[in-house]
Every structure is written in C-alpha cells, then in structure tokens.
Amino acid sequence: MTAAHWYQRFLPRTLAGRRTLIGYIFISPFILGFLLWFIIPAGVALWLTVHDWNLISPPKYVGAKHLVTMWEDDRFWKSLSVTTTYTLVSVPVGLVLGFGLALLLNTKVRGISFFRTAYYLPSIVPAVANAVLWAWIFNTEFGLANAALRFFGLPKIAWLQRPEWALPALILVALWGFGSGMVIYLAGLQGIPDVFYEAAEIDGAGRVAKLRHITIPLVSPVIFFNLIIGIIASFQVFTIARLVTNGGPQNATLVYVLYMYQNAFQNLKMGYAAALAWVLFFIVVALTLFVFKYVGSRVHYEDAQ
C-alpha cells in the first residue's frame, strides 16, 4: 500500500476527529516527555525503593527495609528539621520583605526603577557564584558580615563553623534573593485599577484601610502563588548548602536534598535515596494541599470581566 492509502484509511473522517488528531500532534512532545521523564522514572523509583542497589553489584530485594531504616535514621530526621526550619523562616520573611518592598516601590517617585533593579538583581545571581561570594562574606576573620557587626560594635561570629549560626547564615543568603518574589508582587500591584483607591478615598479610607480592604485582597492570588512556589523551592535548597557548608557543622545545614544527594552519589545507596525522594514528594504534595486548603480558601479572586 502506498502512503496515500494509509492516510485515507487512518486519518479521521470527521472534522472533529481530525481536530483531535491535530491537537494531539501538537501536544505530543509533552505527552512523550511526560511518559519518558516522569512516568518511567517514577516506576524506576518505585522499584528502587524496595531494593538495595549500589549501581555495581546486582540489586537485592529488601521490601520495606528503607522505610524502617529511615525511621531510625537520625540524619534523616535532622535533615527534615533543618529543611523545615529553613522553610519556616525564609519563606514567610521573604514574603513579607517582598510584599513590603513592592508596596513601597509601587509609589510614583522618581528613580523607582533604580531601586527596583537594586532589589531584584541579587535574585538572578547564579547559585554557584552566589555560594562562592557568601562563603567569603561569612569568612570569620575577614568577611563582610563580621565587618558589618564590627561597625555596630558587635563581636565576631564564626558563621560557618558554629552549628547555631550556620543555618541562619544560609537563610540570610536566601533572603538576599527575595527580589524575584517582589517583582511578581509589583506586577500584581500595578494591575490594580486606580479607581478602586479613588473610590475608597472618597469614602474616607486611610492608608491602612486601603491596604487591608483593597490591596491585600486584590493581590492575594499573587501572595498565594509566591507562597506555594516559595515552599516548593525552599524544600529543594541544595547548591548553597552544598558549596558553602556542605551540610556542616555537625549537620546543622544538612538540608533534605543534600542528604538525599549524599546517599545516592557518595554512599551509592540508590534504593535508600529513592525512598527519601518519595518521602520528599509526599511532603511537598501534603504541604501544597495544606496550603491550598487553609490559605487558598482565603484568596480573593476577581471575577473575569
């Protein structure tokens, strides 16, 4: 049979059928990619979770052993608590900073674009360069952080050597990049029509009332968006923790994915690392659902049109 025959036999006859075919051709790269890079790896991960494998000797079926190991693994619990602390501090503080600065930047003052740039630029610094820079800033003897403390008459801190200071140091690095969220808030704020504020002013609303009853409800979808993105991202913090402190001192900065990375690629415990990955997945899903349920219901959506 010629190609034309095949065409006529298999091409849908109706217009709707033809449109469906064309639609699926258009989205086929995504469907293929989804199968290849999500479904198959998920299957592999499932298989790995019940096996012991170091990539070299043959894999061994171990059932739920990894889950039991995890339950008794102090470093797993430590990494979970480090990541949770990191998220609980950096996400809300970053959110407030980003929103607050966006409010200030949303005023019609000359030179605003200069300020916007100054706050935004740190967030696009490549992570590796960022890590090298901050390792130097937190240098105990000659670093900028301690120079700043000295300026205020405070004593030096061994930022990266003391367990109680290493995590706050990493959080400071994260906060330096709050500008990416800020720009999103700013775009949201600029989308609020002036008439709302004018109407409120006529009704005698002050600054606080306008903020509470107009600004916050109208940008609440943006706040919500940033909250979700922020949580997912901060559960994946890796580069800074690996390059600045590599999990130390005394596991004080052993963030979750760093621990997972060490298990997989330094100890070659592929099965255990896959189990850790599943736990990460469920944590992120649970957190997202939690935020959707308890925060999402308070988000104000303007009707389209």
Binding site: G23, P41, E141, Y261
Partner: protein, 298 residues
C-alpha cells in the same frame, strides 16, 4: 468586590489649611519611603560592592580586617589569573553549546505544545493541561535518582545529552504554560483569516502565531539561558571529565582548589555573574514580562 462596607460619608470640604496639610503629609511620606528604600538598596548592594572590590585586591590586602573599600593597589590581573588557571574559555564554549541546544529545544517544542493547548479544542485537552500544571509542582530532586539511573543506562553520563535531550520533549511545563497564556492573548481572528486562506493548523502556528510571539519567545529564551547558565545540579551529576565542564561546575571546582585565594575566586565569580547582569540591563522588560505572563491575570 473588595470594599464591602460602603457607608455614606460626609462630603469633603477642602479648605486651604487642609490642602497644605495634605501636601506636607504627602511630602513627608515620600521622604520616608525614599529613606527606607535607600537604606535597603545600600544593604542589598553591599555584597555586590564587596564582590567587585575583593576581585581587584592583591592577596595580601584581602586578609585585612576591617576590610578596605578601595582596592589599592588595583589589581585587574586577578581576572586573567583566575580565568586561565582553569580552562574557563572551554567551559564557556561547553556552556554555550548546551545553551544553544536548550534554546532550540525549548523555543520550538514548548511553543508547539503551547499552541495546541491554547488554540485547538479536543477531548482530553484539559486533562493533559492539568498534568502540565501538576508537573510544574513536582520537585526536580524527586526524580533525580531514577533519571540518573536511566541516563546512565543509556550511556549518557559524561555527555551533554542528559542536559539537552529531555528539553526537546515539551521544553518544560512552565514554558508550555507561558506560551499557552501568550497565544490565548492573541486575537482569534488572525487564525480564522489564515484558515479561510487555506492555511493548515501547523501553518497558522508557524507562519501567523510564531512571528507575533516575539515577546514570549524573548522571555522564554532569557529564562532558558539563565537556567542553563546557572544550572549546578545537572552538570554536577552528569559531567565528569574536565573538558566537559560548564562554567558553573568550573567555578565550583575552582572554589575547592583555591580555598583561600579569595581575590581570584571573586574575580571568577564576577566573571560568571557579569553576563547575567548585562543581559538583565538589555532585556529588563522581558524579565518582568515573563513573570507577569506566567498567569497572574489568567
């Protein structure tokens, strides 16, 4: 609506002293805002200043506390020494090869998928689009281990394949989403005109929609470049030989070799940050557009 209580208020009578008070209050407020913004901007910029200042210092001036803010003697040779100590030229070439392949992959396939989701109605479309959004939420690290095993089975370790080939399949959920939003904002009539003239759906995508999508293409291109330029975990897992290294891995390795030569480390870091900053100043609009396009109003 956001304003729930709309009580009638007494009419505002504007008298002269009141006007003056309002003007003064406004001026005071503006001054306060500018002060806060300036202090904040200085704090935010200090690490950059510190980076650049350190990169021009000779080593003996690095180890002085409290630090000096003007490098004296001024030593630009740090840059040459840092960038030839490791073959950063080769790393740059490797990175650019990955960047170019990623750009081709992402710009073609994510716009293609985005068009399908935006403009063609077919059963199952919403289901697949929900999946696009769902994959957006799946952390990279969840699939890091099994993907590594797959790619090592395929013999892709120490090649650029794991960093380039996956992007040819849709180019990332976020980019599909961005193109979908953008295509939906273009007038439907253009496509209809094309259809009347006998244009196929592929022709409409390629010859009508794509030429109109320069802002979206520019935005996606910028974010794709940034992702490839900044990527650390991908090259860390897959690139083993020194001659395959990217700039990011090169800098990380350089850091482990030069543990205390902070002036050279700062020079190399500045060199890696500079292209990103330059790109920002030339394409500022698209940085913000990308974030806005990502669906704040959709």
């Amino acid at each position: 609506m956001a304003i729930q209580k709309q009580t009638a208020s007494p009419p505002i009578i504007v008298t002269k002293p009141r006007m003056r008070r309002v003007v003064w209050e406004r001026r005071l407020w503006t001054a306060l805002i500018i002060t806060v913004l300036t202090v904040g901007a200085v704090i935010m910029s200090l690490p950059f200043v510190w980076l650049v200042v350190s990169s021009f210092k000779p080593l003996e001036k690095i180890f002085i506390f409290p630090p000096e803010w003007i490098p004296n003697p001024f030593r630009p040779e740090n840059y040459i020494e840092a960038l030839v100590y490791k073959p950063f030229g080769l790393y740059l070439f490797n990175t650019m090869r990955i960047v170019v392949l990623n750009l081709i992959a992402v710009l073609l396939t994510s716009s293609f998928c985005g068009y399908g989701f935006a403009r063609i109605r077919f059963p199952g479309r919403d289901f697949w689009f929900a999946l696009v959004l769902a994959t957006l939420m799946i952390p990279y690290f969840v699939l890091m281990v099994p993907q590594f095993i797959m790619f090592s089975r395929l013999g892709w370790v120490d090649t650029f394949h794991p960093l380039t080939i996956p992007l040819f399949f849709g180019g990332g959920a976020f980019n599909i989403f961005l193109f979908r939003q953008f295509f939906r904002s273009l007038p439907e009539e253009l496509a209809d005109a094309g259809r009347i003239d006998g244009c196929t759906e592929f022709g409409i995508y390629w010859r009508i929609m794509m030429p109109l999508s320069k802002p979206a293409l520019a935005t996606v291109a910028i974010f794709t470049f940034l992702a490839a330029w900044n990527d650390y975990i991908g090259p860390l897992l897959y690139l083993r030989s020194d001659y395959n290294f990217t700039v990011a891995i090169g800098l990380a390795t350089f850091r482990s070799i030069m543990s205390t030569q902070w002036n050279l480390l700062m020079a190399a870091s500045t060199a890696m940050i500079l292209p990103v900053i330059i790109l920002f100043f030339f394409a500022q609009r698209y940085f913000v557009d990308g974030l806005v396009l990502s669906g704040l109003k959709g």
